[in-house]
C-alpha cells in the first residue's frame, strides 16, 4: 500500500462557543482558500417504532445531498464500518427486499416490524478548498453544523459543529500544513455519534416502549386510583400504536393496539364495583366494538403466517392449488383492515377516546363511592385473582377427554382474565413469585390458544370453500382442513398434561401463598 493511501480525512468537533467565521478569517490569512456554495444536507436515521436497530447497535441511515440519496447500513455494534447499499429507497419491511445478506441481517433484527424515519438531522454544510499556486485544489475542508428539530413546532438546536479535513491524493504536504494550522486548537476527534446526541436532546429513551405493564402500584392506594392508572397506561399503548395501525403494513402495531383493548375491557369488567356502572357499560361497548373490528384482521394475519409455515407439509401441487386461498386471505384481511382503519380515522372515535382520557385523568373520586371504589388495591387484587383462579380450576377440572370444544374455549377465556389480572397487579407481589405463576399459567394458555387458533383457521377454510368454485383449490383446502384437524387432536391430547402441571398441588399452594396469605397481617 502506498503512502498516499495511509492518509485519511480527519473529523474534529469544533467548540460550541466558537464561531466558524473567526476561524475562517484566520485560516484565509495563511492559505489560499476558495469558499464554495453553502449547501444543506440531511441525515435520516431509520428504525422501527420500538428502536430495534438502535438497541441492537445497528444503523440504517440515508444521506440526502441535493438530488443524491445514499443509504448506509451497519449490522451491529461489533460490525465493520457502515457500508453503502445499492438501494434507491429504504424498504418498509424486511420482506420488501429480495433475498440477500442485507435482507437476512435486517430481518434478524427487526423481524416483522416496519422501518420508519425516526431522527432527521439537518446539516448546514460550508465547504471550502485550499488551492495551490496553480489554483489546483490540494485540500478540502468542510465546516458542518448539525441541527436537530425535535418537532415541527419546536425550535431547532445545534447538536454539534464539526470540521472535516479531507486530503486530496498526491498532496500530502499541503494536507499536513492544514492539519498543522488546526493543531494548536487541540480539537477533539469527532465520533460518529450524531444520532446519540439527537436522542439525548429529544429525551427519547429507546428501551422505553413495552407492552408489559410496568406500573408500580402503591398497595394501599384506593382501587379507583389504581384502576384509572392501569386504564390510562393501556390507553397510552393504544395511542402509541394508532398511527402505525392506520399505516397498516406492520402488523405488530395493530396487535399491540388490540391487546390493549382486550386488557381495557378485562379491567373494566373484572375490577368491578369501582367505577360507576354507566361508565363501564358505555366504554365496554365502545371498546368491544373496536375489538370486534380487529378480530378478523388478527385471525387472518395469524392464519397467513401459519399457512406459510405449513407449506412444507403439502405437496408442491397442493401448494400451487392453495394460491386462490392465499389470495382470498390477503383480500379478506385488506377488507377487514380497511374497516378498522376507517373507524380509527373517524371523528367519533377521536371524540370517544378524548372523553375516555378526560375521564381517566380526572382525579376527583367517584361520589357516592361504590363498594370497591375506596378499597385498598392489594385487598381487591387478592380477592379478584384468587376468585378467578378458583374458577379456572373449577372449569379445568371439569374437562375430560370427551368434553366439548366449548368447555376449552370457556377455560381459555377464564385463563386470559386471570393472566391479565396478574399482570395488572404484579407490582403488588414478590416479583419472582408472581412471574413463576404467570409462567405456569402461560404453559396452559399456549395449549388452549393453539387449540382455539386451529379451530378458527378451520372455520376460515370452510367459509372459503363454500364460495370457491375452483375444484382443485377446494381439494387442496380439504387437505389443509384435515391437516388442521389432525393437529387439533394432537393439541387436545396435550391439554391434560398441561392442565395437570398448572393445577398441581405445588402451584396451588403458591397461588394460595401469594394471593391469600402474603398480605395477611398487613391490615
Amino acid at each position: 500500500m502506498g503512502l498516499l493511501m495511509a492518509i485519511k480525512q480527519l473529523d474534529f468537533v469544533f467548540p460550541a462557543d466558537h464561531g466558524f467565521s473567526e476561524l475562517l478569517a484566520s485560516f484565509q490569512n495563511n492559505f489560499y482558500v476558495k469558499l464554495q456554495a453553502e449547501t444543506v444536507n440531511y441525515r435520516v436515521f431509520y428504525d422501527t417504532f420500538d428502536w430495534r436497530l438502535y438497541n441492537n447497535g445497528s444503523v440504517l441511515e440515508v444521506h440526502e445531498e441535493g438530488q443524491s440519496r445514499r443509504i448506509y447500513w451497519r449490522a451491529d455494534k461489533d460490525g465493520d464500518l457502515k457500508i453503502q447499499l445499492g438501494l434507491r429507497q429504504v424498504p418498509q419491511l424486511a420482506t420488501d427486499l429480495a433475498d440477500s445478506e442485507f435482507c437476512r441481517q435486517l430481518q434478524s433484527v427487526i423481524s416483522v416490524r416496519e422501518l420508519i424515519p425516526r431522527i432527521k438531522i439537518k446539516i448546514k454544510h460550508l465547504p471550502l478548498v485550499v488551492l495551490d499556486k496553480n489554483k489546483k485544489v490540494v485540500v478540502r475542508i468542510n465546516f458542518d453544523e448539525y441541527w436537530y428539530f425535535p418537532s415541527k413546532t419546536r425550535a431547532g438546536v445545534v447538536l454539534d459543529k464539526r470540521i472535516t479535513i479531507k486530503p486530496v491524493k498526491g498532496y500530502v504536504n499541503e494536507f499536513n500544513q492544514v492539519v498543522g494550522f488546526f493543531n494548536p486548537m487541540q480539537l477533539s476527534e469527532a465520533q460518529d455519534n450524531i444520532m446519540k446526541l439527537a436522542l439525548a436532546e429529544s429525551g427519547i429513551i429507546t428501551t422505553e416502549y413495552t407492552t408489559k405493564l410496568n406500573l408500580l402500584l402503591d398497595a394501599e392506594m384506593p382501587a379507583e386510583q389504581a384502576l384509572k392508572e392501569i386504564l390510562l397506561w393501556l390507553l397510552d399503548i393504544m395511542r402509541q400504536n394508532t398511527a402505525g395501525s392506520i399505516r397498516g403494513r406492520d402488523t405488530e402495531f395493530m396487535h399491540d393496539y388490540r391487546v390493549s383493548i382486550r386488557k381495557t375491557r378485562s379491567a373494566l369488567t373484572q375490577i368491578n364495583k369501582v367505577l360507576p356502572q354507566g361508565i363501564i357499560s358505555k366504554y365496554n361497548k365502545f371498546f368491544s366494538g373496536l375489538g370486534k373490528l380487529t378480530n378478523p384482521v388478527r385471525d387472518l394475519d395469524v392464519f397467513q403466517i401459519k399457512l406459510a409455515s405449513y407449506q412444507h407439509d403439502f405437496s408442491i401441487a397442493a401448494q400451487k392449488h392453495l394460491q386462490p386461498l392465499r389470495d382470498y386471505l390477503a383480500q379478506s384481511r385488506a377488507e377487514a383492515q380497511n374497516k378498522f382503519i376507517h373507524t380509527l380515522k373517524s371523528p367519533e372515535y377521536r371524540k370517544n377516546i378524548k372523553e375516555w382520557r378526560d375521564y381517566l385523568e380526572n382525579t376527583e373520586p367517584t361520589r357516592p363511592p361504590l363498594e370497591n371504589t375506596n378499597k385498598e388495591i392489594y385487598k381487591l387484587a387478592d380477592e379478584l385473582v384468587w376468585n378467578i383462579y378458583q374458577l379456572a380450576l373449577e372449569e379445568g377440572s371439569a374437562i375430560t377427554d370427551d368434553s366439548e370444544a366449548e368447555a376449552l374455549h370457556e377455560l381459555r377465556k377464564t385463563c386470559k382474565k386471570l393472566r391479565y389480572l396478574m399482570e395488572f397487579f404484579q407490582s403488588l407481589y414478590a416479583e419472582n413469585k408472581i412471574r413463576e405463576l404467570i409462567q405456569a399459567l402461560k404453559g396452559l394458555q399456549d395449549n388452549l390458544g393453539e387449540y382455539n387458533d386451529l379451530h378458527v383457521h378451520r372455520d376460515i377454510l370452510k367459509t372459503f370453500s363454500k364460495q370457491c368454485a375452483d375444484a382443485e383449490a377446494n381439494r387442496a383446502c380439504k387437505k389443509v382442513i384435515k391437516f388442521l384437524e389432525h393437529r387439533q387432536v394432537k393439541t387436545r391430547r396435550r391439554f391434560a398434561e398441561r392442565y395437570a402441571s398448572f393445577s398441581s398441588l405445588g402451584i396451588q399452594k403458591e397461588f394460595r401463598d401469594l394471593f391469600v396469605e402474603s398480605h395477611k397481617g398487613r391490615a
Binding site: 500500500m1 489546483k136 485544489v137 486530496v168 498526491g170 498532496y171
Partner: protein, 250 residues
C-alpha cells in the same frame, strides 16, 4: 471496475475532451473514477491542472515496478482522480514490449485498482502499437471519436480491420461522431446516414463547439463552467447511453 478507453489512431478528434468530460460525469454520479492520461502530450493532465509528470518516472510505473496508486493525484472534483501523463510515455511501446505478456500488461497493472475505482478512463495516444493492443485487451469498451469525414471513416475502418485480424472482440468498439459541424454538408450526410460498417455507433454525437475549446482556457471539464451548454448536454446524453451499454439490465 469498468475500463473505458478513448482511442483513435488519428489525433485531434476529441479524445481528451471526451475522457475529461465523461469521467467528470461519472464522478458526479458518485462513482469513484480514475483517468489515466496515457498520452505523453499530457492534455488531460493539463485540463485537470495537474503537472504531466510522474514522480520517479513513468517508466517504472508502466513496467509495474511501482504501484499505480502511488502516482495518483486527486483532481478538483471529489471521486475523480488522475494518473498524470509522463513524457516517458512516448516510449511506452518499448516498455510494454519488454514485459512478459505485453498484450495483457495493462490489465495486470490496473488489477490492484479494481476495489477502489468504479471506472477507469484511458486517454490513449494517437497510434496503433503494442501499447494500444494492451489497451484493447484491458478495455471493457473502446470509445472511438470519429469526425464525420471520409478520411476519418477510413481510419475507423482500419481499426475495425485490425480488431478482426488480431481477434479482439469488436463488440467492444463504440464509435461516435465528434466535432460535428452540421453546417458542413458532408458532416450532415454522414451523421444522418451513418455507414453500415459502424455497428454500435452511439446515437449521441458531440458537436463542434467553442465551449469545448474553452476547456483549455478554463482548465476544467465542461460541467464545471458551461454545465448547460449544448456540448455539455451532448456529453451527458452520451454518458447515459454508455452506461446503458455497460449495464444493459439497469
Amino acid at each position: 471496475m469498468k475500463v473505458i478507453a478513448i482511442y483513435n489512431i488519428k489525433g485531434g478528434v476529441g479524445k481528451t475532451a471526451t475522457a475529461v468530460n465523461l469521467s467528470y460525469l461519472a464522478s458526479l454520479d458518485g462513482a469513484s473514477t480514475l483517468v489515466w492520461d496515457l498520452d505523453p502530450q499530457g492534455a488531460a493532465s493539463y485540463y485537470f491542472r495537474i503537472r504531466a509528470r510522474v514522480k520517479g518516472g513513468g517508466q517504472k510505473l508502466v513496467e509495474g515496478k511501482r504501484g499505480l496508486e502511488d502516482a495518483i493525484k486527486g483532481t478538483d472534483y471529489e471521486s475523480l482522480d488522475l494518473l498524470p501523463a509522463d513524457f516517458s510515455y512516448r516510449d511506452m511501446d518499448f516498455f510494454v514490449e519488454l514485459t512478459k505478456k505485453p498484450g495483457h500488461h495493462l490489465s495486470k497493472l490496473l488489477k490492484p485498482l479494481s476495489e477502489e475505482y468504479d471506472y477507469v478512463f484511458l486517454d490513449c495516444p494517437p497510434s496503433i502499437s503494442s501499447a494500444s493492443e494492451s489497451v484493447f485487451d484491458a478495455a471493457d469498451v473502446l470509445l472511438v471519436p470519429t469526425i464525420p469525414t471520409t478520411l476519418s471513416l477510413r481510419t475507423y475502418k482500419q481499426i475495425k480491420k485490425f480488431f478482426k485480424q488480431e481477434h479482439y472482440d469488436s463488440m467492444k468498439i463504440l464509435p461516435f461522431f465528434a466535432m460535428v459541424d452540421m453546417r458542413k454538408q458532408m458532416h450532415r450526410l454522414i451523421v444522418e446516414y451513418p455507414p453500415s460498417f459502424m455497428p454500435g455507433l452511439l446515437d449521441s454525437y458531440i458537436p463542434y463547439a467553442s465551449e469545448v475549446e474553452r476547456m483549455g482556457v478554463k482548465r476544467a471539464p465542461l460541467g464545471d463552467f458551461a454545465a448547460h451548454s449544448r456540448a455539455a448536454n451532448c456529453y451527458k446524453s452520451m454518458w447515459e447511453e454508455i452506461k446503458s451499454q455497460l449495464y444493459p439490465t439497469v
